[in-house]
């Protein structure tokens, strides 16, 4: 059986003022029907760009290479009509900032029903009824009346619930959630995740959850990809990665998960430095400058994503659990 989503050697480059920068450098992964896959990395790791490339939401100026297949179909080859028919009905997306991802000048009802009418061919009253039902499903009381409200009268958490309702409206086979809880209050984050958990579970919806927070992703997902500087540096089942990380970067991400509840830092305190920006040199490990295990070879060769002693692939010459940490 073919996977629901196949991403094969995806590359995304942007050209700005004559200089070309690679945001995604050869990313491959699969998502099976009903599966939950997490993509974890700092901002700038290419995780969001990967998601946007899959949804074909990147600006025309972006150069996209490789292949994206959905149920065997070549997504990158879709024409505008096919694309519009696919988005919203087979695949949907939840964005990071619920404050700006709803149109401020349109009623919630309009924003909810337009997809239902388009993809499911519902009549106006039927779509309204369905929209109200969806709002109730995501835990919004007094749904009929709230359909007439504009986004500004909803709180951030409520808006994200509306966004989730919009994404789930036509029961897509796959929902991509790009940092869906990052912009929310900590107390609301868990509720929104629970809601996504419940909804995707009920309909067997496959989910790609993108986050900088390994803790959030590991509790939600079956499988995890760790991305760094436009590449997957480690991949495998969530439990294994948490228990026995192979890549030094994964290790650092794990160390930076705050043990106490509190504001989650965006820049990870446990990893000094920042990810490479713009052009990434191809002849060295992109993590070398920040890596505690760095050796000379790391600065002259680029490690490929290969199986390690942990049984999972990682892009590192000296993965953990295989070579004892060198004392420098």
């Amino acid at each position: 059986m073919t996977a629901l989503l196949e991403v094969d050697d995806l590359t995304v480059g942007f050209e700005r003022d004559g200089t070309r920068s690679a945001a995604v450098r050869g990313v491959s992964f699969e998502v099976a029907a009903g599966e939950r896959v997490g993509i974890v990395g700092e901002s700038g790791s290419g995780k969001s760009v990967t998601a946007q490339a899959v949804m074909r939401l990147l600006p025309l100026s972006a150069e996209v290479g490789g292949a994206v297949r959905f149920a065997g179909d070549d997504v990158l080859g879709y024409d505008a009509k096919r694309l519009a028919g696919w988005r919203g009905s087979d695949i949907a997306m939840v964005f990071q900032d619920p404050m700006s991802s709803l149109n401020p000048l349109l009623r919630i009802g309009t924003q909810l029903t337009e997809g239902l009418r388009r993809h499911r061919g519902l009549s106006k009253p039927a779509a309204r009824e369905e929209a109200a039902r969806l709002l109730r499903t995501v835990g919004i009381a007094d749904a009929e009346r709230r359909l007439r409200d504009y986004p500004h009268s909803f709180s951030g958490g409520m808006r994200q619930r509306v966004c989730i309702a919009i994404a789930a409206a036509c029961t897509p086979k796959l929902i991509i959630a790009d940092e869906p809880t990052t912009a929310l209050d900590v107390t609301v984050q868990a509720q929104v995740l629970d809601l996504m958990d419940e909804l995707t579970d009920r309909h067997g919806t496959a989910t790609v959850l993108i986050s900088h927070d390994l803790g959030v992703v590991s509790s939600f997902c079956d499988r995890i990809l760790i991305m760094y500087a436009g590449r997957v540096v480690e991949a495998g089942p969530a439990d294994d990665i948490i228990a026995r990380p192979a890549h030094p970067y994964t290790r650092a991400l794990l160390d930076s998960i705050p043990r106490l509840h509190g504001e989650l830092p965006r820049r990870l305190p446990a990893i000094p430095g920042s990810p490479p920006f713009g052009t990434v040199p191809a002849d060295r490990c992109s993590f070398a400058d920040r890596c505690p295990r760095v050796q000379d070879v790391c600065r002259t060769n680029d490690p490929a994503l290969e199986p390690t002693a942990t049984g999972r692939p990682a892009a590192c010459f000296f993965p953990l659990d295989s070579v004892p940490v060198e004392v420098r």
């Binding site: 939401l57 997306m93 964005f95 900032d97 309009t110 388009r118 966004c163």
Partner: protein, 308 residues
């Protein structure tokens, strides 16, 4: 919505009162004696004094002001000095439809030319049309309207008589097209640029991403999702433009020989026709205030966040 109106109306009244006072003071404080202008250069001092008395100019400024206010509230703006026996209100009333037609048509030109061009330019940034718009708006914005008007008159009325050269008679629209176009062209360029900027911003906004991810075709995204967000900031400008146009109309009406409020004011200034000048200024202020009120209402109708 009515609460919104209730808050705005007193503001509008205060503005109007301020404008009347200012206009009254300005026309009465400036040097120059209207009585002498009416009487002619050879009139005796006694004649001038009797005209003074007739016009009530020998009373104190305070009394004159109070009388003016009292009558203005009742819609009586006095009698013209220059056009004997004509009431200011009726003179303005006759000239108003002409000016209003020019101003409204001018705004129409702005919107009908500017907005579509701006949208197309936004969809093809740095394309030919985009560059042409930038260039055109530079000309449109920097060319003085009377120069543009004369140029158009020369080409389309004098050289080839597509349009009449001057005046105002039936069919009126023929006499209005060139003046309103002249008035609106600069603004159209400006609107095109503003629409382009707003449109580019809207197209990049997260809510458009959401709409795309929902599977909305580009036409729906443009018409349902973007246009409102693009047009609502334009509305404010529209109201200001109508006011501004009423000012610009003075020049345009003179160039095209249209018997509107602008020409009336222009002539009144030439003859120191104080009631006419004050009346025209008051009327212009009223026009701007009403326009802004209407725009605010329209704004509130489009953008729910303003209503509170």
């Amino acid at each position: 919505m009515s609460r919104f109106l209730l808050r705005r109306l007193p503001q509008a009244l205060i503005v109007l009162f301020g404008v009347v006072t200012l206009a009254f003071l300005m026309t009465h404080v400036v040097p120059g004696d209207p009585a002498r202008l009416i009487a002619g250069p050879n009139a005796s001092a006694a004649t001038v004094a009797s005209i003074h008395h007739e016009l009530g100019l020998d009373r104190s400024l305070g009394y004159q002001y109070w009388t003016y206010l009292r009558q203005a509230v009742q819609g009586d703006l006095g009698t013209s000095y220059a056009l004997q026996g004509t009431s200011v209100a009726s003179a303005i009333g006759h000239a108003l439809p002409v000016s209003a037609a020019v101003a409204v048509l001018g705004v129409l030109w702005e919107v009908l030319l500017g907005v579509p061009i701006g949208i197309i330019a936004a969809y093809r940034p740095r394309g030919l049309l985009d560059r042409a718009t930038t260039f055109g708006s530079l000309i449109g914005l920097s060319a003085p309207p009377f120069w543009l008007g004369l140029l158009l008159l020369y080409a389309l009325a004098y050289k080839s008589s597509v349009f009449p050269l001057s005046g105002y008679s039936n069919p009126y629209i023929n006499y209005l097209i060139l003046p309103s176009f002249t008035l609106g062209l600069g603004g159209a360029a400006w609107y095109a640029r503003l629409t382009r900027t707003n449109m580019l911003e809207a197209l990049r906004s997260p809510y458009v991403q959401t709409a795309r991810a929902k599977g909305m075709p580009e036409s729906v995204i443009l018409l349902r999702h973007c246009l409102r967000n693009v047009l609502s900031p334009l509305l404010t400008m529209l109201g200001m433009d109508l006011g501004y146009f009423l000012g610009g109309v003075v020049v345009i009406e003179s160039v095209f020989g249209l018997p509107g409020v602008g020409k009336l004011t222009f002539d009144a200034i030439g003859t120191l026709d104080i009631p006419m000048i004050t009346g025209a200024v008051l009327f212009a202020a009223l026009f701007i205030v009403v326009m802004n009120l209407l725009v605010d209402l329209a704004y509130a109708a489009i953008d729910p966040r303003v209503r509170r």
